[in-house]
């Protein structure tokens, strides 16, 4: 086992997870879990930053840590591939991870499962770093499953809430469907290339597909990516995953885990290029999901669910970008999206926390006076999400939309042009629903209805002696929303800075482009000599964003009654959107109910038929015993009689048997 700096990146979080787990043991140790977790994510970030030359060299470096599976010709080791794509992903994972962890120290303060939370988060970071740094598909799958496990643990963190438990199970099971595809993809890769090492596979990939596996591998891997990144039809788990605590939603379901699917496709881009249908499928699914999720987000009332659907929509954008061979666009959008989506989730968490668990959009209004900082920070995030000029989202989204329309126009492909137009419409919708939320929550007359939740408050009253004065969230019962502590606001400021500047920094000196094109996600630009719409798109997307903001301002700030009128006129549409196009109900009726019925049938058969047989078998000894009981006379003479009979029988047998 060679000791190299990149190994610290992966294994420090593991150590952190173990230490946090140990902190669960004692009440007084619990408070140490937060700082331990933060450190175990911060240090890898620092290490990555310091060692960035390892990542950005000419050829991808491979660091072999230790032998893992050697089964005949099948070799899967713990070895890590360090290339610029990995660097970008690690920056996202560890950077956003640190900030969210700091926020969570304040958000989760006083909770009984404090140490358990941070142990799970550290374990998640371990799995995620393994995922993004893995050199072979099996190690990647390990990370993949690990993040799925941690997602389950963290969604079901409030394990006494049945809805949280259900959501955790749903997430895990729907992910499983995708993971099946991924596993089959790995099997096919091994069959075709006789190795699962990414570096070796990518070296041996020919320019064209030579066998049937080459056509199917991308589709199987795509299925896995769609499961993990919540694209249609495997998107149903992400909105329900909002049952978990807000830092979890920010970290896992916005910035890192759900982007694993995008990363997978980007990493194995040469494999996807082999089949002519794979990437178009990715683009179509991504684009349609983006539109589909944006429409649903328009009619939701739960603020976290709005952001969940927004995440699905933005992931759709990333897939669309990769699908049209703009991997730079996809990864850039991943990068910027991490910043502003995390910011949005965390500010939404602050709002929910301040409103004592109230999530309903209709029950809060005009909170800007009570929570000015949160209001400002969320505004910055909303601008970035909508793609306001010069914010982070602007550059990345613009790159994707431009690439889509370019591709369509240059190849005279109506479908891709249509996809691009859908993308533009989705951008408008994005601005609409984002600012709908912001205007409703923070603007307008100040009236609100507090929630019934006292997470953290009760615990603090019980453990006042323990309270170290860290996140002095609330000590006495307050029935009004108020600003959150600096512990929680600090990271938000950093994220807001990122939301504003990340885009500009990313395209300055073509940094992102340089990063991506020196990694395995590099794709030759097929439109060297076509139309370049980049500049035009800048204006078009700015216009769309501003138009969306204005429309939202009208309906949700200035004339809210107009919104009600519109809702009534399009009541059917609104109902369909409210029910999320009935996808959940469809799954329930077609899959969940039949399975449950089958399960109950099996249970009934087991209990009645098999149980009956077992009971019958059990009755036999009893019956035998009872029937023989009567021959036990329990008197001496009875036994004597038996003995005499026995002697007679023996004599008879002796005489009969010649």
């Amino acid at each position: 086992m060679t000791f190299e700096l990149p190994i610290l990146i992966c294994w420090l979080p593991a150590l952190g997870a173990v230490l946090c787990g140990l902190c669960c043991m004692h009440r007084r140790l619990r408070v140490c879990a937060g700082p331990i977790c933060v450190l175990s994510i911060l240090l890898p970030f620092v290490v990555t930053l310091v060692g960035r030359e390892r990542f950005t060299g000419e050829n991808p470096t491979i660091v072999h840590m230790f032998n893992w599976i050697h089964a005949g010709r099948f070799i899967a080791d713990f070895s890590y591939l360090l290339d610029p794509l990995t660097f970008v992903m690690l920056m996202v994972v560890t950077g956003i991870g640190t900030l969210v962890a700091v926020y969570a120290c304040g958000y989760m303060a006083g909770d009984r499962g404090y140490a358990r939370f941070f142990a799970s988060v550290a374990l998640f970071i371990f799995a995620m770093t393994n995922l993004v740094m893995a050199d072979n598909l099996v190690l990647l799958y390990l990370g993949w499953e690990g993040v799925g496990l941690c997602s389950y643990l963290l969604i079901g963190y409030y394990y006494d809430k049945p809805s949280a438990v259900k959501a955790a199970k749903k997430a895990f099971i729907v992910n499983r469907v995708g993971d099946l595809g991924f596993a089959i993809g790995i099997f096919l890769t091994y069959t075709r290339y006789d190795t699962v090492s990414i570096a070796h596979v990518l070296q041996n990939v020919g320019p064209a597909a030579t066998s049937w596996e080459d056509h199917w591998i991308p589709f199987m891997l795509m299925l896995g990516a769609f499961g993990k990144s919540a694209q249609f039809p495997l998107h149903v788990w992400l909105p329900d995953a909002m049952e978990g605590p807000t830092p979890v939603s920010a970290l896992i379901h916005a910035a890192t885990m759900v982007t694993a699917g995008v990363y997978l496709i980007a990493r194995l881009m040469p494999l996807f290029l082999l089949s002519p249908y794979a990437l178009p499928t990715v683009a179509v699914v991504g684009g349609l999901t983006a539109f589909f999720a944006a429409t649903i987000a328009l009619c939701q009332y739960d603020i976290k669910r709005i952001y969940a659907y927004s995440t699905i929509s933005q992931l759709g954008y990333m897939f669309m970008g990769i699908g049209v061979l703009s991997t730079v666009g996809g990864i850039f959008h991943l990068f910027t999206h991490a910043f502003f989506k995390a910011l949005l989730f965390l500010t939404a968490g602050s709002v929910i926390h301040a409103m004592a668990g109230q999530l309903d959009l209709r029950k809060m209004s005009g909170l800007r006076k009570k929570m000015p900082w949160t209001c400002g920070l969320m505004f910055i995030g909303c601008l970035a999400l909508a793609g306001f000029p010069f914010t982070a989202g602007f550059y990345s989204k613009d790159m994707i939309l431009a690439a889509t329309l370019e591709r369509g126009i240059n190849h005279h492909n109506i479908a891709i042009i249509a996809l691009g137009v859908i993308g533009l419409v989705t951008a408008l919708l994005t601005a609409l629903y984002t600012f709908r939320l912001w205007f409703r929550v923070f603007m307008g007359p100040t009236e609100y209805e507090m929630g019934l939740d006292h997470h953290g408050h009760e615990e603090e009253e019980e453990e006042e002696a323990d309270h170290g004065g860290r996140g002095d969230v609330q000590v006495e019962h307050i029935h009004e929303p108020h600003e959150v502590s600096w512990l929680m606001n600090g990271p938000l400021l950093v994220l807001a800075a990122g939301a504003l500047l990340a885009g500009w920094l990313g395209q300055r000196h073509h940094w992102m482009k340089h990063m991506v094109e020196h990694s395995t996600a590099a794709v030759a630009d097929p439109d060297e000599h076509g139309v370049h719409l980049h500049t035009i798109m800048l204006f078009v997307s700015s216009a769309i964003a501003i138009a969306g903001i204005i429309i939202a301002a009208y309906f949700h700030w200035l004339r809210r009654e107009a919104a009600d009128t519109v809702t009534q006129r399009f009541a059917t549409v609104v109902r369909v959107l409210n029910n999320k196009y009935y996808v959940d109900k469809f799954y329930d009726a077609s899959i969940v109910r039949p399975l449950r019925t089958a399960g109950e049938l099996c249970f009934a058969i087991d209990r009645l038929a098999i149980g009956l047989v077992v009971a019958l078998v059990g009755c036999v000894p009893r019956a035998l015993g009872i029937s023989i009981q009567s021959s036990q006379k329990r008197t001496i003479q009875g036994y004597g009689l038996g003995m005499a009979v026995g002697v007679a029988v023996i004599l008879l047998l002796m005489m009969v048997m010649k």
Partner: protein
């Protein structure tokens, strides 16, 4: 042939069953008659159809008569033991069995055994039994205190006992009287129909016995002992001496062990009889 045995067993079973003590009326006299007839008939049948004609080698005629007398007496007495109400009478009838059995042993030229039986059984064991019966006797119920108590007057499951017993008897008899047709079974008694060997034959066989060899050394035979001399000597050995020789020469260890066993039983009987036991009287508990 075996059918006669089975018929005789069945009739005997019926007879005995009739003689068993019961609640109500039991046809004892009838049963007795039937039993006697059965036994007599069986003997006659055996004598007629089964036995070899008389020869001069064999037990002399008076012994045959004595055999029948003593056998009949023993069987009658045995039946009375098991069907009599009162325990003391049963014990006395048992004494009769002992005497009859002693007579049979005399017929078999085993006079030592006969006398030993009378002494040990009649003199020791049965006296003990009678003592204990006296000690532990109970009056009958208050209505008729002179009668035996209920557990003596009514037998327990007579039918089952009689059936099982006579089935066993039938099996034993058919084993004893089996013909020698099938010779490959080791369980069939080889030639029980053999008549009693003569005394000379016995003497000859005894001479080949190891114990007898040593006896020979002891009682004489220095130098060359001719067969006739030993012959002349050993035909004067009587049953006691022969048994004694066999016992002390052939089974000395057994003898010692028997003594130890008697000692053990003596000690055991003393210990048991000394134990004070509180009589359980549940009606007196509060």
């Amino acid at each position: 042939m075996p059918y006669v045995l089975y018929i005789a067993s069945t009739l005997g079973a019926v007879a005995l069953f009739m003689m068993m003590p019961r609640h109500g009326y039991s046809p004892r006299k009838l049963g007795a008659l039937l039993g006697a007839v059965t036994l007599g008939g069986l003997w006659l049948f055996l004598a007629q159809h089964y036995l070899e004609p008389a020869s001069d080698r064999g037990i002399t005629a008076p012994a045959v008569v004595y055999h029948y007398i003593f056998s009949g007496l023993a069987i009658v007495a045995a039946v009375r033991v098991i069907t009599h109400d009162k325990p003391v009478y049963a014990a006395l009838w048992f004494v009769m069995i002992v005497l009859a059995s002693a007579g049979l042993l005399l017929v078999l030229s085993a006079e030592f055994m006969a006398v030993a039986m009378v002494i040990i059984y009649g003199g020791a064991i049965l006296v003990t039994y009678v003592f204990v019966i006296m000690l532990a006797s109970q009056p009958g119920d208050t209505a008729a205190p002179d009668d035996a108590p209920a557990y003596d007057r009514v037998s327990r499951e007579p039918a089952a006992a009689v059936v099982v017993g006579f089935v066993l008897l039938a099996l034993l008899l058919s084993a004893m009287f089996a013909t020698g047709d099938s010779t490959d079974s080791p369980w069939l008694t080889p030639n029980v129909m053999a008549q009693a060997p003569s005394d000379e034959l016995i003497i000859e066989k005894v001479l080949t016995n190891r114990a007898a060899q040593r006896a020979l050394d002891r009682i004489g035979g220095q130098g060359e002992a001719t067969v006739s001399q030993t012959f002349a000597r050993t035909d004067q050995l009587d049953n006691t001496e022969r048994v004694g020789l066999d016992l002390f020469e052939g089974h000395p260890l057994g003898l010692e062990l028997a003594g130890v066993i008697l000692l053990m039983s003596l000690v055991g009987a003393v210990v048991i009889a000394r134990t004070r036991v509180e009589a359980s009287q549940p009606q007196e508990k509060s």
